[in-house]
């Protein structure tokens, strides 16, 4: 299933470029918006407040980023749940394999999954299935 829009939040430009190509080639979406840190993505969500149709279907969120890291971004969302709705699927996409990070991610109930880099075709396809079948998590 193809979705409207994906936010890719990561400070690593190479990764952003590669991931965009991979996601598009798998046909998950045609529109990917790149943000190089949590703050930029958060500001965009503030801009979209009230415009439900323009919200992304998927947010792929890195953890280690300057200015506002992944956790801080999630905290902001937790404080302002109105910014997104249930249609927005958030995935943590990180190179960290530290158990602490995985455990911490479980404290945010609204996260759909925790993916460790490298991002694979299989990961992208699972996301596609999950979006069409909201009860499933990856």
């Amino acid at each position: 299933m193809e979705v409207n829009k994906v936010f890719l939040v990561d400070d690593d430009e190479i990764f952003r470029t590669a991931a965009e190509i991979l996601i598009k080639s798998e046909g998950l979406t045609r529109t990917i918006e790149q943000y190089k840190n949590g703050l930029d993505a958060y500001n965009k969500l503030l801009e979209l407040a009230g415009k439900i149709n323009e919200l992304p279907d998927i947010i792929l969120l890195d953890i280690n980023m300057p200015l506002m890291n992944g956790w801080e971004f999630l905290e902001e969302l937790r404080m302002a749940p109105d910014l997104i709705n249930d249609q927005v699927h958030i995935y943590i996409l990180t190179s960290s394999i530290a158990p602490d990070d995985l455990n911490l991610s479980k404290e945010y109930g609204f996260i759909r999954g925790y993916i460790t880099k490298p991002l694979t075709k299989a990961d992208v396809n699972k996301m596609a299935i999950s979006v069409s079948n909201p009860s499933r998590q990856i």
């Binding site: 690593d12 990764f15 300057p66």
Partner: protein, 603 residues
């Protein structure tokens, strides 16, 4: 049945109770005192019978009645009698046969007092378990009292003699000793008083106190007498106590614990030998006053220790503390002191007794352990940091590589492939860079405290400035250096330059574009510490938000694309390796000050 008895003097007038009896013990006559003695009315004695006066007759008396012949020797009997005042009285009765008169004289003696005394002494003997004995050295007879028999656990039928008496003593030193003292007592009349072990007739061992003496006649002992006391219970308790005391003494001696005893009222402090060893003080040099103890305490611990003694005396806190002392030779020892305060019946403290132990060795080991623990904790933290780098930075590059190579293989379009190859090149370069950084950090951490030397600050600073010449020309900052040409710090030379370089680069990187960059580098020395400060008027940093992470690895704060989050982490590691401290003061949009604090080696 009256016989012709004609006494030559008047019986009636005799000044003691006496009666004259016929062969059948019928009263013939009596003295006037007799009536008084038995509180009888003065009347005709012939109307009285002996039975009426003294009650049931003793068996020996009754036998006389059945005799055909006249008794030819005197008879002694004791009898009890309850007076009209309900007092118990004891009498000795002596029956004298008078062959000439063919009658008996019966004499009464009041022995109540004697009887009581004997009873009491028997009771005392029993209670104290004291038995008596006597040896007649002329006739070779031995007398043992009941208690003496009981102590020896012999049957009543046992007939003791001097030799068998001695054989009751335990073979070995106990028997040898008794033979020695008895011989001396017989030969020279020397009395003895010994505590020895006896083996009773029943085979039980018990401690006795044997006291003996002899009666010398013409330089020859005629009689030996003495007492035995069963001291088994007390002796065993005292032996037990002695063993405990000995054990305690050995423990105290070998554990290097000193005991002290402080008389609070007289202000006298008594030390045992161990205390003198502990404090390295000679007995003759110690005045025995508390002040003498106080002078040995380390100045930094003195007030506290004295206060703790006073608090213990006031009953506010138990005395259980540690302090250092300085021995006359000047060495420092750690002492653990414990004490207890004793009060008189009015509740006033009068005495304090306690122990001191030398815990210097334990202290040293403890400190060493603490040091090791600190190092371990630090290493652990470092390891976690490494885990973090491996997990994050190495993986972020390697995962890019794996993604890109996969995509390169999937995609045959030459233009795309070229793009992927360029991205692969960048990723592999970054991977290489990360590995180099890791290597550098490992090197710094293994350099901890090594290669330290006196380094001139100014040349190191000039060196750093030169290497960023291009940047400086581009941004044209005001750099003011207020450092004495000769200032030196105890450091590792390349690290010092590297830190300077990093701080200068940061100032340039995070300057405010709207204002000309000003950098002021100054130094001050306070006692053995030199602080070099780098102050700029740049963007500053929100320390409330980022303060904790500022010196962390791969932490970036400004969103600059060229920020790697490694510079301050490396600077911090280098400062650690030089046992120096880096700290920061900053305000957003005002500027930042980094202080480098070096502790200079004192030779």
């Amino acid at each position: 049945m009256k016989t012709n008895c004609q006494p030559t003097i008047s019986i009636e007038d005799l000044p003691f109770p006496i009666v004259v009896l016929d062969k059948k013990l019928e009263i013939l006559r009596c003295s006037q005192i007799f009536f008084d003695f038995f509180e009888l009315a003065h009347s005709n004695c012939q109307s009285l019978t002996l039975k009426e006066v003294i009650g049931e007759l003793p068996i020996s008396f009754s036998k006389i009645l059945n005799r055909k012949t006249f008794l030819n020797k005197e008879l002694k009997e004791f009898t009890a009698h309850v007076t009209r005042k309900h007092e118990l009285k004891w009498f000795k009765m002596v029956l004298y046969p008078s062959q000439k008169e063919k009658c008996y004289y019966l004499y009464f003696d009041d022995v109540t007092q004697k009887k009581k005394t004997i009873d009491l002494s028997l009771q005392a003997e029993r209670a104290a378990r004291i038995g008596s004995w006597e040896v007649d050295l002329v006739n070779h007879t031995v007398f043992w009292s009941d208690m003496t028999r009981e102590i020896h656990e012999t049957p009543r039928s046992h007939v003791p003699n001097l030799e068998t008496g001695i054989n009751f003593y335990k073979e070995g030193k106990h028997r040898e000793r008794i033979i020695e003292v008895v011989s001396e007592c017989i030969e020279k009349g020397t009395p003895y008083d010994e505590e020895l072990i006896l083996v009773t007739a029943k085979g039980n061992q018990k401690w006795v106190r044997a006291i003996g003496n002899s009666e010398m006649i013409n330089g020859k002992a005629s009689r030996m007498f003495g007492v035995f006391q069963d001291i088994d219970k007390e002796k065993r308790a005292s032996i037990e106590y002695q063993i405990l005391t000995d054990r305690m003494r050995v423990a105290v001696e070998s554990s290097n614990i000193g005991i002290w005893d402080y008389n609070i009222i007289d202000n006298v402090l008594v030390w045992d030998d161990n205390m003198y060893n502990l404090y390295g003080v000679k007995k003759e040099d110690f005045s025995g006053e508390v002040a003498a103890w106080e002078t040995t305490i380390h100045p930094n611990d003195k007030d506290r220790s004295i206060q703790e003694v006073e608090m213990a005396i006031r009953g506010e806190k138990e005395f259980n503390t540690q302090f250092r002392i300085i021995t006359p030779e000047g060495s420092i020892r750690h002492i653990h002191g414990q004490g207890k305060v004793f009060k008189n019946k009015h509740g006033n403290p009068v005495r304090m007794v306690g122990a001191n132990a030398d815990i210097t060795r334990i202290k040293k080991v403890d400190n060493r352990l603490r040091q090791l623990l600190n190092i371990t904790e630090k290493q652990n933290k470092n390891l976690l940091n490494f885990a973090h780098i491996v997990s994050h930075n190495l993986r972020s590059n390697s995962s890019n590589l794996s993604m890109l190579t996969g995509m390169l293989l999937d995609n045959t379009d030459p233009k795309s492939q070229e793009k992927f190859l360029e991205m692969i090149r960048i990723s592999s370069e970054r991977l290489d860079e990360t590995v180099v950084q890791l290597n550098e950090i490992i090197k710094i951490q293994s350099d901890q405290g090594k290669n330290l030397q006196w380094v001139k600050v100014e040349p190191a600073l000039k060196n750093a400035l030169e290497s960023i010449n291009a940047h400086i020309e581009e941004t044209d900052p005001d750099i003011s250096i207020q450092i004495h040409k000769e200032l030196k710090v105890y450091a590792i030379k390349p690290y010092l330059s590297s830190i300077f370089l990093n701080l200068l680069t940061n100032s340039i990187k995070y300057r405010r574009t709207e204002e000309k960059l000003k950098i002021k580098i100054s130094a001050k020395t306070i006692s053995n510490q030199t602080i070099i400060s780098f102050k700029d008027n740049g963007q500053g940093i929100d320390l409330k938000k980022h303060g904790e992470k500022l010196f962390g690895m791969y932490k970036t704060f400004h969103g600059n694309s060229d920020a790697k989050g490694i510079g301050l982490f490396i600077s911090k590691n280098q400062m650690d390796a030089m046992n120096a401290i880096i700290d920061v003061e900053s305000e957003v949009n005002k500027g930042t000050i980094f202080n480098l604090c070096f502790t200079n080696k004192t030779d």
